[in-house]
Structure formats: structure tokens, C-alpha cells
Amino acid sequence: MRRTLVFAGRNTKEIIRDIFTLIFGILFPLVLLVLLSAINNSIPKEAGMSLFDINNLLPGVAVFGLSFISLFTATIVSKDRCTSFILRLFTSPLKPSQYIVGYTLPLIPISLMQTIVCYIAAFFMGLEYTPNIFPAILVNIPTAILYIALGLLCGTIFNDKMVGGVCGALLTNLSAWLSSTWFDIELIGGAFEKVANLLPFIHAVKAGRFALSGEFSEILPEILWVSGYALVIAVIAVVLFNYKMKQDK
């Protein structure tokens, strides 16, 4: 266990000492929250536009922020893989399961911290305190695991230059467009809505919105959808990681 924790500790330092973690992990979601709240304040109430109300917006931004966790995970995994640092690790007594846990462990508290910072910032933008805030934060844990697994998968498949494009651009945009955060997907309808509903992002946002509004009975189906994706992607990532570990030698 100590070896795993030592490896996790090293990964934590590598991630949090990277300036991009601060910019994309914390500042960017906050900037979005501020901007979209400002837009919301400019919309006349008579327009009946509630998408950017803080109670709707916050769970969406919290999920969008987590998409950057994939970027952090993928970056550290691929950087280790693409340098001879991995040779040093491969010749150490670390086992494959210790690599997976060591890469995953630091990102769970980082994800939680990111979500908590978003919720704290939202108080300054009109979020009223209710006890529902706590379950709303907790329902993001399966989503965090989903994004960590996606990062592990991308870091295993792509090199350190490609993960920036795949996780930093493609995945964050998919998360944004297909989650009903920036626009109401029901208004578009058709195939776009069907695809969005098949993917986990919209369900992750809905789970947060239901939790924040106290509609707890509605949360479970959404959480199950996200957890299913998280589990399947995590299994694929672990199998591929182990396979690539042998190949990379």
C-alpha cells in the first residue's frame, strides 16, 4: 500500500504544480460561471429563460470542469509512457494495479475540490444555501471517476502531444455540447437529442440539477447511467493500460 501511496503522492505533485491545472481546472470553470451568470442577469425575466439560472448553470459547469480532469490524467499517463521515466518505473517493484490506483487516487480529491470551489463561488452569484448542496456535490463523484477513466484511456492510447487535442479540445467540447449546459438539447431534438441521451454527460448534469433542487427520487437513474459508463470505460482503460505496459517495454 505504501508504494501505491508514494506513487500517488508523486502524481499529485506533478499535477498540481502544473500551471495549466490551475488555469483549466479552477479558473476556467469559474470564469464561465461568472460570464454566464452575468449574461443571465442581463436577460429580462419576462423572457422566461431559466437555463442560466445559477441552480441550472452550476451543475453543468461543475460537470464541464470535470472534463479537464481527463486532460490532467491523460497528460501525466502519456508523458510517463512517452519518456524513459516509465522504464525506471517498470524496473521497480511496482505492480500494474499499483500504477492504476496511483494515477487515479490523486484525481478524486482534485475533482472534489474543483466542484467545491465552483459551489463556493456560486454563493457570490446568487446561489442560496440549502442542505441539497452536499448531495449535489457528492453525485459528481461517479462523473469524476468517469472522466478519470476517460483520461486513463486516452493517456494509454495517445502520446503526450495528442492528448491535448483529444482530451483538451474534443472531450471538453463534447461534454459541453451534449450536456444541456449551454443550451437546452430538448429544443434541438431529433438525432442530436437521442445521441446526447445515450451518452453520459447530460445524465451527469441532470443528476446534479435534481440533487440541487431536492428531487432525490430522480437522481438514481441518472447516476446509474453515468456509473455504467464509468465502470465500462474504467475496465477498458485498465485492460488496455496493462496491455500497453507490456508493449511499451
Binding site: R3, R10, K13, R17, D18, F85, R88, T91, S92, P93
Partner: protein
């Protein structure tokens, strides 16, 4: 006592034989340089001996432990300093050292004490709080070798330890490598022939996956009938001897 003994160690990739029936013996505490042109089979040999890849045939024993049957035990007594600098860039010098000690199973207090010792031995006190990515190539390479030694391995593989360094940084690193002679078994691969000649007790020359000759630098020169080690290397590698 033998630290390394290979028995017909062979690695094939499909039809291509990269290492062919290698029989190599390295004594405990010896510094053994493995020389060869690109594609000679040196790196593949090192990868097999450090349990990174499995041999197609044959076996090797490191301190009596088989690389096939006792992989975990072998990994506990070896260490590798890879060809490229391999340090964690955002960790300080001390953190890099403590990290490696930690993954080899040392307690926090032991890791700290060992890191302090390495910092002293490698004259890194002035840079111990600097992040690895800010160091020059020479310092990074020095840190990389210290990381390979902190776990107190019985056998260390130094793969091209001075590649790409300027002459001053290279000579500085030589001093630190020389201090290890006799205390630890070292397998050194290098393209710098003068480095092998200056540092190692014995030298093995590989070509096309086969160990062509081995001995001290003087023995190899005598065998090739020349006073120049570079000339001796060329004659042996090209089968002119």
C-alpha cells in the same frame, strides 16, 4: 562470486535474432562495459537482464535469481538509469530521490535519510530544492544516476550515462561513477569508447547479437593487435580478428 550469469540468452523478433546465445559472466563488484554499434543487441540484453522483456530462449541469473522465475526478486536488487534522462520534472531533486526510495519499499524516515546521503555523495546540496526540470542536462543525469542508486541495488545498469553531455559534465560524472567501483556491480553501455576504457574493469564487445570478445581494454587491444582501443573495437566488431 558471480553477479550476472547468462546461459544461451536469446531474443528473437519473428525471424530476426537480436541476441543470439549470449553467455556472459560478470563478477560481483565489477564494472563491465557492454560495447557495440547500433543494433548490436546491447539494449535488448539490458532489457532482458532488467526484466523488461522476456528472452525467447535461455536464461540469466542475477545474484542467483532467475530473470524468468524470480522477476520480482530480481527487480528488488537491480536498478536502471535509462539512456534518456528520466526524472519527474515537477518534483525537486530531494523529492525525486525520496520518491524512488519509497517505491522500493523504504519507510518515509529511511527514504529521507537515504536522499540526504545521495545529495551529499553526488554534491547536490545546492540544488536539492530545485525542480528537476530546471536543472541542466549534466545535473539531471547526475540526479538520474543517484535515483538509480538510492534503492541500494546490488546491480546497476547505466545505459549511456553521459550521452549528450559536454566534456566537463561528462568528466564530472565519471568521477561519481568511479567512486562506485568495487562497491556495486555495474553494467555500463556507452558509445564513447574512451569512457569504457577509462571506467570499466572488463569490456564486452557485441556485434549482430553475438558477444564477439571480452576482456580488459589491454587484453582486447592485444587480441586485435593494435595499441589503439578504437581500432581494436572496429577490428573485433567487424570480425577482422
Amino acid at each position: 562470486m558471480l553477479a550476472i550469469k547468462t546461459n544461451n540468452l536469446t531474443k528473437k523478433y519473428k525471424e530476426k535474432t537480436v541476441v543470439n546465445n549470449l553467455n556472459l559472466s560478470v563478477n560481483k563488484g565489477e564494472m563491465y562495459a557492454l560495447l557495440g554499434v547500433n543494433g548490436a543487441g546491447k539494449s535488448t540484453t539490458i532489457k532482458m537482464l532488467s526484466c523488461l522483456i522476456k528472452p525467447t530462449d535461455g536464461n540469466a541469473e542475477l545474484m542467483g535469481k532467475s530473470i524468468i522465475k524470480d522477476e520480482t526478486a530480481v527487480k528488488q536488487i537491480i536498478s536502471v538509469s535509462p539512456q534518456e534522462t528520466s526524472v519527474a520534472p515537477n518534483l525537486t531533486v530531494r523529492e525525486n530521490l525520496e520518491f524512488i526510495a519509497g517505491i522500493f519499499g523504504f519507510s518515509k524516515a529511511e527514504a529521507k535519510a537515504k536522499a540526504t546521503k545521495m545529495i551529499e555523495d553526488f554534491d547536490m546540496a545546492d540544488i536539492e530544492k530545485s525542480r528537476a526540470k530546471t536543472l541542466s542536462g549534466g545535473w539531471q543525469r547526475r540526479l538520474s544516476i543517484a535515483m538509480a542508486l538510492i534503492s541500494e541495488p546490488e546491480i546497476v545498469f547505466l545505459d549511456e550515462p553521459t550521452l549528450g553531455l559536454d566534456v566537463l559534465a561528462r568528466r564530472e560524472l565519471w568521477k561519481h561513477i568511479e567512486k562506485l567501483k568495487g562497491k556495486i556491480t555495474i553494467i555500463l553501455t556507452t558509445h564513447y569508447l574512451e569512457e569504457a576504457e577509462a571506467l570499466s574493469d572488463r569490456i564486452g564487445i557485441m556485434a549482430k547479437g553475438v558477444l564477439k570478445a571480452e576482456g580488459t581494454a589491454n587484453e582486447l587491444k592485444a587480441k586485435a593487435g593494435t595499441e589503439d582501443f578504437e581500432e581494436a573495437f572496429i577490428r573485433i566488431a567487424e570480425d577482422e580478428v
